[in-house]
Amino acid sequence: MGNNPRNHDRLVLPVGSAAAAVRLSAVGLIIGFLITTVSNHWVWLDMRFNSGVSIPIFVVLFGIIGLSTGLSVRFRAFLILEAILLAVWLIDYGFDLDALLVVPASLVRDGLRLHTLTLPEINLGLGLVVLAGNLAWLPGSSRRTGQKNGCRTPNRNANGMTY
């Protein structure tokens, strides 16, 4: 395939593809956050269960699905998920910047048991992870794969590699 000039702009990745794993992990992060945020409203549950655990569970679960199946999600769908999460936070906390800087980070801190880190450090890490999640849509655009960048199974070449 390397001799075929038409393949030069294709990104060749192992089965399932790391890019798909990163993209789905990013989706898992947002879904985990949504579930954690909503479940936090139930005080009884919050007092008995570390709801922040949903975040790493969904990141890992979706990452594994992405790695093993190569399933991808449209970037627009990811943006809509991010917008929904933002809307939920704004409904919960309004435009109280203090709350927006404290609650999501403390959910991550509790979920990952990161008690040695400060909330600003967690916020910084979280911001970079979310940015990386957004950037993960760059390499696999529809122009490169030759098909719509929708929810799809991976294209495979003769060697079983996906692109």
Binding site: M47, F75, L79, L86, D98, V102, N134, L138
Partner: protein, 220 residues
């Protein structure tokens, strides 16, 4: 081009939300307030003054969400669920209260918790920290939605506390596990019957992670 704009905008929006200012520098007056309290020495019992001083950290999450825990030991299963996370264990706290002459109520059980108010000697609880203008009462640092005064009493409950391993030191409703709890409400007032919500007062308490000193004094 349109897509690139989309993800850059989305990323920047989230990055702006997540990234916040760096931690403030340490207060030079810290040692005055903290005295000999450290993470390795998180409780000081003053028998003559009938007071106990606990080292604790502010949990900013409960400035914005309700909780039923005022002070819980960090290592306990409820260590993330309180407005203030202490470093002292329930055993040391209970022993300290006995040493200053406080008498436990020992009237709360898992069976009667929803119909019984905690008994035992009443305690004054105040909170201060380096840079604070004064020592604040628990009523000032924790907001009760009903604006009812918090009445902390020495319930005892050490055996149950050791069995449950929750780390609960001061609870905001009468509790069969917490060493000290609030007589003003029976168990279930926060979680089950929704009679009240308690939240840390962000207008009074310092930011998340700040070390504070909780002083418990036997009322006479």
């Amino acid at each position: 081009m349109k897509k690139t704009g989309f993800f850059v905008l989305g990323g920047l929006l989230l990055l702006t939300l997540f990234v916040c200012p760096l931690a403030l520098a340490a207060d030079p007056g810290a040692t005055d307030v903290m005295g000999k309290l450290t993470k390795d020495n998180p409780i000081i019992v003053d028998k003559a003054g009938k007071t106990i001083r606990l080292l604790a950290e502010v949990n900013g999450k409960y400035f914005f969400q309700p909780t039923r825990h005022a002070v819980v030991t960090k290592g306990g299963s409820n260590g993330d669920k309180s407005v203030l996370a202490a470093f002292a264990e329930p055993q040391a706290f209970c022993d300290g209260l006995l040493q200053i002459g406080a008498k436990p109520g020992e009237n709360m059980t898992l069976a009667n918790k929803e119909t019984t108010r905690v008994k035992g000697d009443a305690l004054d609880v105040t909170v201060t920290w380096p840079g604070a203008k004064k020592s604040y009462t628990l009523d000032e640092v924790i907001k009760d939605s009903n604006k009812k005064p918090i009445v902390m009493r020495f319930g005892g409950n050490l055996a149950t506390a050791k069995d449950k391993k929750t780390g609960c030191l001061l609870c905001l409703d009468s509790c069969p596990v917490g060493i000290v709890s609030n007589e003003a409400y029976t168990y279930g007032a926060v979680e089950k019957r929704k009679e009240v919500t308690f939240m840390g007062n962000k207008d009074v308490l310092p930011k998340d992670g700040t070390q504070v000193v909780v002083t418990i004094k036997l009322k006479k």
